[in-house]
């Protein structure tokens, strides 16, 4: 069964629900090495993305674009431009189609990684959300299973514990950032889990 604009709208709803559920945990993680608001940004951003997607007409790309704009305008912060750019890229990858094979969500993941890397001028290993998106995108591009992609993202997020931050607020901490996972990477792994779950098809 193809992945339709309706599925995409549901995916944004699922992401928003997940971020609401994880908000306080993400804020607490951000409190240790940042400014304690990452859960709020992700909750507000995914909620705005879901609302904008819901209200959007048109193709997959249109829905992605609406979600990008919704996320950006609700949030600002670091997450806003990063995810707005990621979603615009995913929309481009999905293209002006009413639906696409579910498999092509792999390309969306890869596109999102590109958007984040470009907007954030980021590389893997700098203790950012890219450290979850990059291994997930690599696994997706290699055609691995949804489970494997999600696992790669989680491992990537977990690995940020042992990194010294080089970008974002935590970069000022130097060695003090060691031992704590990057909140943006942790939330990224959660979003990727939601995408992977959509990749597996609707729960029957």
């Amino acid at each position: 069964m193809d992945f339709t604009t309706g599925d995409l709208k549901n995916l944004f709803v699922a992401m928003a629900a997940r971020m609401t559920a994880e908000r306080d945990k993400l804020c607490a993680l951000d409190g240790v090495i940042g400014d304690a608001d990452h859960g709020i940004a992700m909750e507000q951003g995914t909620k705005a993305a879901a609302d904008a997607a819901q209200a959007a007409d048109g193709t997959l790309q249109d829905v992605f674009n609406a979600a990008a704009k919704g996320f950006l305008n609700a949030v600002g912060a670091s997450s806003g431009p990063l995810y707005a750019t990621a979603l615009l890229r995913a929309g481009k990858a999905a293209g002006p189609r009413a639906s696409m094979p579910r498999d092509e969500l792999r390309a969306a993941i890869a596109a999102m990684r590109e958007g984040i890397a470009q907007r954030g001028k980021a590389e893997p290993g700098q203790k950012t959300m890219l450290d979850a998106w990059a291994p997930a995108a690599d696994a997706a591009s290699a055609g691995e299973t949804a489970d494997a992609i999600a696992a790669a993202a989680r491992q990537g997020a977990e690995a940020t514990r042992d990194m010294v931050a080089a970008l974002g607020r935590a970069a000022r901490l130097g060695e003090r950032s060691l031992g704590h996972p990057d909140p943006g990477a942790v939330s990224a792994a959660m979003l990727i889990e939601e995408i992977c779950s959509a990749m597996r098809g609707p729960a029957s």
Partner: protein, 336 residues
């Protein structure tokens, strides 16, 4: 754990309700363009031929940034969520509302989020034919080593840097000059702070970090980001000495030079403590042979209700002194 004590209604509505209260309090100073509720513009100030100074950043630092919008200082401001850069749109709206055809200077603290959002705004404005320059403030000497000045955060030094750039623009200097003044002001402004308690966000009402009684965080930012290190809470004079040692070493000003000083509360540290600190700051500057031209003391750049303080010293020259002395009339700051 119980929620921190705040006089708010709904954490998610806090910024918009605050803005409503600011507009109600300061109708002679500020207005908001229709459909741009997160952009605040000076009633008086923006005018044809004048470079528009647009500042902005997250909320929670009041009176930074909104309070410094007014004649002689900033022309407009983009307002973000608490501790979150505004998205590009309010920055675009603020710039368009303040634009006098002589170019726009985006002037704000150096944070990853702000840079990404304001850069997107610049691209959008350039597509509309508006010339945009950007100067990032990087006065927090605790946030990166001296040879990586461009990585440092912008904190309370914003007040002096905005003031100098705002005066330059008010004097109708062209955009190249206003940009030069802003960079020059930033180069000569040095800040360092300590935190004595955490703040808490209105949405979560949990302390952003743990700071046990008897300890302080040295080199604290203004968003609850951790500082350089944690240590036992010491006396005001010891704290001032540590900060002034660092600032004087960075500033490296010859005896006889003049400075401006800002002793800033991060939120809940009261004037009594700030003035006790200032007594020592004045002493240290005097014994370094420096003359204090102007001193500001109070909550100028805050982190919600965080306890703590920062000291900013601007190393003046004739130009900066003249610009700091220039009158300004803002909702939350007046001079001259």
């Amino acid at each position: 754990m119980s929620l921190t004590q705040k006089l708010i209604n709904d954490g998610n509505a806090a910024v918009d309700e605050m803005l409503a209260g600011i507009m109600a309090a300061h109708p002679d100073h500020l207005w908001r363009p229709d459909h741009a509720p997160r952009a605040a513009v000076a009633k008086n100030g923006p005018r044809p031929g004048k470079v528009a100074i647009v500042v902005g950043g997250g909320s929670g630092h009041e009176p930074t940034f909104l309070g410094y919008v007014g004649k002689g200082l900033a022309d407009a401001c983009a307002v973000g969520n608490v501790f979150a850069s505004p998205p590009p749109q309010p920055a675009v709206d603020a710039a368009l509302a303040a634009n006098g055809g002589a170019g726009v200077l985006f002037l704000y603290g150096n944070y990853a989020g702000d840079v990404m959002n304001f850069d997107m705004a610049s691209e959008l404005l350039e597509m509309e034919g508006v010339e945009v320059r950007t100067v990032l403030t990087t006065d927090d000497i605790a946030s990166a080593p001296r040879d990586q000045r461009e990585k440092r955060r912008g904190v309370a030094g914003n007040v002096f840097i905005f003031k100098a750039a705002g005066a330059a623009a008010d004097l109708m200097m062209p955009i190249d000059e206003v940009e030069r003044v802003a960079r020059h002001a930033n180069d000569r402004t040095f800040t360092m702070g300590v935190a004595l308690s955490s703040c808490s966000l209105p949405q979560t009402r949990r302390p952003s970090f743990d700071l046990p009684m008897g300890e302080m965080e040295i080199g604290m930012g203004i968003h609850g980001e951790p500082g350089v290190r944690r240590g036992p809470l010491r006396t005001a004079n010891e704290v001032v000495d540590e900060i002034m040692d660092a600032i004087l070493a960075e500033m490296n000003a010859p005896a006889g030079d003049r400075v401006a000083v800002l002793v800033n509360s991060l939120g809940s540290t009261p004037l009594m403590e700030l003035y006790i600190m200032n007594a020592r700051v004045a002493e240290r500057l005097r014994s370094a042979g420096l003359t204090v031209h102007r001193t500001l003391v109070g909550p100028y750049c805050t982190s919600l209700e965080m306890a703590g303080a920062s000291i900013t010293v601007m190393h003046l020259d004739d130009e900066l002194q003249r610009l700091l002395d220039h009158p300004c009339d803002c909702a939350m700051f007046r001079q001259g």
